[in-house]
Symmetry: C2
Subunit: 122 residues, 2 copies
């Protein structure tokens, strides 16, 4: 795992875990690695993982049983709304960013299509 040093590591790990949930790599209700295990796995300080899980719990994504472990929420709805929220953010960033650079709506569609064609070829 390589981190972008312009964004706090705990934020990046939060996104990583959210994506793992969305993609089904982490199942609903499943126990995740302990803070210490995750810290070792991601080569990060245990305290950073504590922060990650505190924030995720605050958002209702995970819950913890003291002395037992940390678990993914059981709520399918929560995961769905999380996915939708993350997608909305990405779409918004794209459109707003392109508008701010002076691109028109038609440019956006063209650029995306053009880029996707390239990707498919690869």
């Amino acid at each position: 795992m390589i981190f972008d040093n312009t964004v706090p590591i705990y934020i990046q790990i939060m996104k990583l875990i959210k994506k793992d949930i969305i993609l089904g790599k982490l199942e609903l209700g499943a126990k995740v690695l302990s803070t210490r295990e995750y810290a070792q796995e991601l080569k990060v300080n245990p305290n950073t993982m504590v922060r990650v899980f505190n924030e995720l719990e605050r958002e209702g994504i995970t819950f913890t049983k003291r002395g037992v472990g940390t678990f993914i929420t059981e709520s399918k709805e929560k995961v769905e709304s999380m996915k939708k929220e993350m997608a909305e953010d990405i779409i918004r960033n794209f459109i707003d960013g392109m508008l701010e650079l002076g691109f028109e709506f038609s440019d956006m569609i063209d650029l995306i299509k053009h880029r996707l064609e390239k990707e498919v070829v690869q």
Copy 2:
């Protein structure tokens, strides 16, 4: 100007100035506000503006004449490549982000089109 506290202010101001150049609000070769004026305008510390201009100069976007002021590059090519770079970044973030959430290429086009229709109506 409202700043997003998850990103360093000097980075946000750099983007702001780059956008102003791209949109022609700041002309090639033009003298920009002094660090002190910009600081007052954006309600930011003068040292933060010093950092902004140091970084922009390092990127070849601006140049300074000591005791005189700070100026936008004369190079049209520089501005063009900067715009292209910023657009590429935005497009890349969009595609990578959506792929990581499990969306297909066709989903992306649909979502963008759908969102753009909404925007136009507004």
